[in-house]
Symmetry: C2
Subunit: 390 residues, 2 copies
């Protein structure tokens, strides 16, 4: 092969996603964009808060703004601002040397896995899980292992305990969850902490917890508990993609718990991984987010869409758990084969993603990061699709 | 170890560089910034062209500017703009599907190596070479092999021919060169193309040429010839770090020669690697550079510094080739041990990097991406240092 052997499978998987994407474009051209209901992508369409644009303009008018290299793990004043914000919010005692500014949450996860995982070691995550985890495991040479969740998609601690082996290096959680919208409670996180502590003892090897939290601020009627409180050996990573609607700008960070075993060494190694892969997180947007700690897009827009969508789908006869966070619905497929049902939805010009791709067969994912009108206008199609199989 | 075994060496190497960097900060605090002459970093200090700021403001005031995800290999209109510019300049027939917008040249190189190299395959580069190549080879699981250059740091085609083995997958060149400032001529590139064509036949395996060109626009009194003309199986990669002084913003691209064997497959695989590692190149700066094709910082500033520095060092008795491009000088160390001589320079509050780190022992690297005054004020120190060993 002209390309690397191991890349062949990744290119094939990507070309399947691209085909789906291109099919969507083709459909929009054929039927008109207003008549195609695309719920396939998690691309925030809520505009960034007004203060984001003002901050950006302010910085660019300021002659001292830097577009050049900074110390690779990020501007010290930005890392300090992140640490201050996290300390105020979670009372965790972070110092800036435990923060690395990253190329989004994807970059942060790649950094952490590169820092921690020896080839062939295992990365354990509850399923359903974000499809990108396959790619990040691949990049780090890790083996991705899944543990099933409970029927409501919350943590099944016994399943996790059983799935941990002597090769497990990292357990990776994502709450609010993509694709299910589940938000883990403080109790279940505490339980997870106890499982990881016991397993680390049992295998005489520290198991680290990585908490991937890009949807932390997109939560409805629930508080998203701090993972720092549940387990000392935790790395939290996130991006400003959803909370400031800056997904394309690739800006995020990782924060290593000050009480984690070898916390400074791990933060240092993640910083080196960051340098090797991306050099540094984008300069201008580091400076933007440094000034916007705690600022969030208008969550009520997502809440309203969730409510409209849930009501409409319920009336049509779909079964699902009302999501507590993120901007996804993960309904049960009315027939066993979710790929087949997603094709039936496509006959109604509705684009969804089969749950199988997320390790959650028998379900399908709908992103409601779309205008209200798309949701409302799609509902008759959802009704027809479910009626066609009942 | 709490961190991955293979990362230990990388962290140690990075901590040496950090120590040097921190020593510089310590010296500046002790002696005052005006009395420390820091030539260690290649961080462009020439401001971006005025039109860069105007374009940025224009885009931000435009409500249609996107901060969200775009197709992972980049905005189609930006890839088209890059292809148009390259076609106008080099008459090479590029189409946008052969362009991937990347997180700087580092990201582009990581993408290409990930796309092409099977673990253990060899990446061959002429030495002295940019120190980051060690890291990018590590990330891809490639073995970095070097071929010596001629005394003037131009390509030694025989050395390259000899160094190619059945494991060689990629030959990587960098012209204008960091650290030497050499610019390869059309003739030597043609010669390299012939060597690679012959070696590909000999080993019955296509060897690809990657041309890392972030300094292409920083050239004095010479034209930097097109590598596309020399060898069909070429991937050119670059960034806007130096030509627009945007090093911290992490924006660049890769372009696969339309006549390369399996060109589209390789561009596709590099695009998938890009997605897996960084998701996409930063959105706002993609849109900025899309409008600024062919725009360059004021090169005369670098030329003036080069001339002042060369004249001063020559008068002090240093031996070096006057660089044709980039913003580095790579003088001979007056004593064999370059690390020792760099320490003697430090006694004069001059910070330089030993050539050993670049695979060029017996030399040291000076970056003249610094104000004229730093160069002028440092010259007495350079004189004292060389006199102390003569």
């Amino acid at each position: 092969m002209p390309i690397a052997d191991k890349m062949v499978k990744m290119v094939e998987a990507a070309s399947m996603i691209r085909k789906m994407f291109e099919e969507g474009i083709r459909m929009k051209e054929k039927f008109g964009a207003d008549h195609v209901f695309d719920f396939s992508l998690g691309n925030p369409d809520v505009p960034p808060p007004k203060i984001m644009q003002e901050t950006l303009l302010d910085l660019i008018h300021d002659d001292t703004v830097s577009h050049g290299y900074m110390p690779n793990p990020g501007f010290m004043h930005v890392r300090q601002a992140v640490a201050d914000y996290l300390n105020q919010t979670f009372n965790v005692g972070l110092t800036p040397d435990l923060i690395v500014m990253t190329v989004g949450a994807a970059g942060a996860l790649n950094d952490c896995l590169r820092a921690l995982i020896n080839p062939g070691e295992e990365l354990l995550t509850p399923a359903p899980y974000f499809v990108g985890y396959n790619q990040y495991a691949f990049v780090a040479g890790a083996t991705l292992i899944t543990a099933s969740t409970r029927p409501d998609f919350h943590l099944d601690l016994e399943a996790i305990q059983t799935a941990i082996t002597e090769k497990t290096r990292v357990v990776l959680i994502n709450s609010p969850n993509n694709p299910t919208g589940a938000v883990y409670s403080a109790e279940e996180l505490d339980g997870l902490g106890r499982v990881l502590e016991a397993a680390s003892k049992k295998f005489d090897k520290r198991i680290y917890l990585i908490s991937d939290e890009p949807y932390r601020k997109i939560a409805y009627d629930v508080t998203v508990p701090s993972v720092f409180d549940a387990y000392n050996h935790t790395i939290v990573l996130t991006s400003y993609s959803k909370e400031l609607s800056l997904a394309g700008e690739r800006i995020g960070y990782l924060a290593v718990h000050p009480k984690a075993e070898d916390a400074r060494l791990i933060a240092g190694a993640a910083g080196v991984a960051n340098t090797m892969m991306y050099v540094n997180a984008p300069s201008l947007f580091q400076q933007v987010v440094g000034r916007l700690q705690g600022i969030t897009v208008d969550i009520d827009i997502y809440r309203r869409r969730r409510d409209i969508f849930c009501q409409g789908l319920k009336q049509a006869g779909y079964e699902f758990d009302v999501p507590d966070g993120a901007f996804y619905l993960f309904p049960k497929s009315p027939i066993e084969n979710d790929v087949e049902f997603v094709n039936l939805l496509k006959d109604q010009n509705i684009l969804a993603v089969p749950g199988t791709g997320f390790g959650g067969p028998g379900h399908f994912r709908l992103s409601y990061a779309v205008p209200d009108k798309t949701i409302i206008d799609s509902l008759p199609g959802f009704k027809k699709a479910i009626q066609s199989v009942k």
